[in-house]
Symmetry: C2
Subunit: 327 residues, 2 copies
């Protein structure tokens, strides 16, 4: 029998939801503003509202629902039924036992997990990683989040904190990371590192012929998108920047490949929206930062599910019985 889950993905801007089957069929897409700025009570209210809409839809269409899955920023404590540590951009959310509340409201098993982890699970189960057993997912954005799938299962470590791949120290003694360590990978390969690399190249470039200059000179904010777009147009400086971004990203991925000998590495997150020019720059540099035996046979690909990965990940929680709220 096909199983179905009501899936919710709580982001900083939108709360997305839908019904997902264990075959990866997605339906009944719904979206509400998260209204994070109105505080945890409003977020909780919106979660309940979206869940009840989807459960009603399911009932109307005679779809039995196995559980509610939630992807959320932060680290879930299933005893508490929510976050006990903080989540950036969601003040107060760490004191809201939303899993407990949803369970008591709807009397259906509730599962929840960190959004980066859920995204990795979604990609592994229904996206780029289908059929792969050993998958490392790197979500590159402001930082680099990780999801580790080993023998087809999520690896969470002894206390649930595994996967902090952004804090592999690749440039020991280098730039200070937000975490207080000098030289973390994400300080070089994620947003801040990309913009620093860009600035360094612009500072060195005396010909000032790059299209990036005109953007900067108009006092528009430089973004990775501007750099990747310029590179795609053949802009010489931008191509050099993208090449260095590729190398800085390959340093950490190469280390992960040497450690895990995975069959697939999936690169997702906001930066990966740059697409093939980004992927190819990384792939070019992987041989320079990994062992031949370890990297042989590893496929390095971009994430496939885009903004739906969190919802699919939420369904993987339900179908995989991962992080169930224990009443």
């Amino acid at each position: 029998m096909i199983r179905h889950a009501v899936c919710l993905d709580l982001g900083g801007t939108n709360l997305k939801g839908g019904i997902v089957s264990d075959r990866g069929e997605f339906s009944h897409h719904q979206s509400l503003p998260s209204e994070v700025e109105k505080g945890p009570e409003q977020i909780l209210h919106n979660l309940k509202t979206l869940a009840s809409i989807l459960l009603r839809d399911a009932e109307k269409d005679s779809i039995p629902i196995q559980g509610i899955g939630v992807s959320t920023p932060g680290i879930i404590d299933t005893d508490f039924g929510g976050l006990t540590g903080g989540a950036v951009n969601l003040p107060g959310w760490q004191n809201t036992p939303f899993m407990k509340v949803l369970f008591e409201e709807f009397h259906i098993p509730v599962f929840a997990h960190n959004d980066v982890t859920a995204t990795a699970l979604g990609e592994a189960a229904y996206g780029a990683g289908v059929g792969r057993n050993h998958v490392i997912m790197a979500s590159v954005g402001t930082g680099i989040g990780g999801g580790i799938i080993i023998n087809g299962k999520l690896y969470e470590g002894a206390t649930g904190y595994a996967g902090e791949i952004g804090h592999i120290v690749t440039f020991a003694g280098g730039h200070m990371c937000n975490c207080g360590v000098k030289g973390c990978w994400e300080e070089y390969a994620a947003l801040r590192g990309i913009m620093r690399t860009t600035q360094e190249h612009l500072d060195r470039d005396t010909r000032r012929e790059s299209a990036i200059f005109s953007t900067r000179d108009k006092e528009e904010e430089l973004t990775p998108r501007i750099v990747f777009d310029a590179a795609r147009e053949g802009d010489r400086v931008a191509l050099n920047i993208v090449d260095e971004i590729g190398s800085n990203t390959a340093v950490g991925l190469g280390s992960l490949i040497n450690i895990f000998d995975p069959d697939m590495v999936i690169i997702g997150g906001g930066i990966a929206e740059a697409g093939d020019i980004y992927l190819n720059a990384i792939k070019t540099h992987i041989p320079g930062w990994s062992l031949p035996d370890s990297r042989e046979g590893v496929e390095i690909v971009l994430a496939k599910l885009g903004s739906k990965a969190g919802i699919f990940g939420a369904s993987a929680l339900v179908f995989g019985d991962i992080n169930r709220y224990m009443r």
Copy 2:
């Protein structure tokens, strides 16, 4: 019923063997010279000789033997029944299907694995890691080998090459590693790195009061042992060197802790024979190279089994049905 295995540990100098029970009782210790210099036929002959001695002893003492476990340098191919890739210091060994030969000779299941991996299994099952589920073992010697135990089981990756932790790139762009990559962890934290650090400190030290100088001036070869011994005596220069060794080692271990969130990290190998002064230098620097949430609760300890870890590891292969020769 207690199970028993005949266990062989093939090293560059000696071939060691014994009978190990699944409760970790070790008996019937035997040792032969490996005679590596006489080539693979002689090594194979010695392996067979030691196995037959131990099997005869077992029969005499009415101990039923479940299997033969072998710890050897190199990467095992269980289809071939030996190594298909090379092993440093064992020329020709990659063409010797020793597992097949032992099986056909004694008609007992034969299991074999890489020595670093076997050592990690031995420490996890019968040494420092007893009762731990998520264990990272780092064997620090000429390089740094790794063993990854996840959910109580050996993690080998998609193609058997997982655990190349010595080649995490911690100092990207730094000193050239034997593998061709600039900045691998083992180039800083293993033998060559320790001796380079020592040399740098000696070069900088104008007072020339350190005991290490007198050793060097006598044209004796400098070794890590001399440095650690001097540090233990309170030698100022040696203490600074050991502190830097501790930091260089903690960079990689901190990264592994952030990735795996293990419950234990075991440090073994020749360098770890320096003991507590080495361990404490590493532990001092772990907070500087890891996240608080990830390192909390991780115990960092020295290996316990010493030169017997390979034999115990060979028994773990047999009892865990790992890397069985498939005839």
